[in-house]
Symmetry: C2
């Protein structure tokens, strides 16, 4: 197909497509005349991946280049390709300049314990493990260090969701779409879960505090 049709099919403008080719994110089309190139279905798929990484995953162009290098490396096994994609859509955690109370060091140790205790095939230095440690340290900073005790309840729930995600991927996703699906599923799955947790909070809060509220404000 010509570049105009590629643009229509993907909703990406012609100048933007040319920019992605210049940046090395998208392979150039096959030249059919000095001024005209022809594009394939593989270009449609690649553009969808680039847009998902930029728009849904919030990656930079440099981050997209890194993911695509992983996708294009024929030597890279699938699970390493997935790991690269997952690491890249893990929100960057705020750097802590210092750790005067040792809260971050303690949180890192708690995360390493958790990974060992659950027999997870993950390494404590992974971006997600560091993000977890930073969240735990922030809870400690505001006087809720005790929340670390419920970590296993959260881990049970996360395992359940991760199993669901992988089952879905195994049943529904072609190899060629794996990375795209992982990126989209990771980011939109976060949004889904956060929304569901809030709805479940409304329900649980109504059950715990609702009766009291009815007593306090019977007319409402």
């Amino acid at each position: 197909m010509r570049i105009g049709e590629l643009s229509r099919r993907t909703g990406v403008s012609v100048p933007t497509i040319k920019y992605y080719v210049r940046e090395g994110l998208l392979p150039a089309g096959r030249l059919t005349s000095p001024n005209q190139a022809s594009y394939e279905e593989s270009h449609v798929r690649r553009l969808r991946l680039i847009r998902a990484l930029l728009d849904v995953g919030g990656l930079s162009v440099a981050g997209v280049r890194e993911v695509i290098a992983a996708v294009d490396d024929p030597e890279r096994p699938v699970h390493k390709m997935l790991g690269t994609a997952a690491n890249l859509v893990t929100p960057r955690v705020e750097e802590r300049a210092d750790d005067p109370e040792g809260a971050l060091a303690a949180a890192r140790a708690a995360v390493a314990d958790l990974i060992t205790r659950r027999g997870w095939r993950a390494y404590p230095g992974a971006p997600a493990a560091e993000a977890l440690a930073v969240a735990l340290a922030a809870l400690d900073d505001v006087g809720h260090g005790g929340f670390a005790e419920v970590l296993d309840d959260y881990a049970d729930a996360a395992e359940r969701v991760a199993r669901t995600d992988l089952d879905y991927v195994a049943r529904n996703v072609d190899r060629g779409e794996l990375v795209e699906s992982v990126v989209i599923g990771t980011v939109l799955g976060d949004a889904m879960f956060a929304a569901l947790r809030r709805i479940a909070h409304i329900d649980a809060s109504g059950r715990v505090f609702g009766a009291e509220a009815d007593r306090a404000a019977p007319a409402s």
Copy 2:
């Protein structure tokens, strides 16, 4: 205490404290002389709440004013106060100008069904319910409408986490700190869960795709 001590105790600068007083977020201190005011422990707590709402919750000053009005309303029952706080830290979803394929309408219907099916005391128009519908519609847009079928697995996990959260609140949180704790716990709990889901993905992906990877790249 004087304003200087209030500043030291909370890490909020004196000009910023004065700004919050002018904006109506923080009650003025009690005047002890024409140029000096005295502040109480309630000011320390209120400043911690304001900072949590601004920094951790990412609220605007107008949003903080809304939460504080809810906290200060003696007529407002606890669970409505919590609902206000939770709604305010629900990420604003991108507005969709149109819905040509009807994906958003279908997603809203799926969310309403879910709430009914689970007997949740929540209303379909809540911000969290709309955020869920938008995430489902976005999945449909990229060809993963089938992911809606795993909604109940996610809902089971969210219910478990919400129960854990409410248990923690009931055991550990004073009434005066409820809203602060809900805001902090909602936002940091999202971060914790997202990180755990990624770690669990790494584990699950290693189990599903790892063996194949070992065959493909035995030397790595």
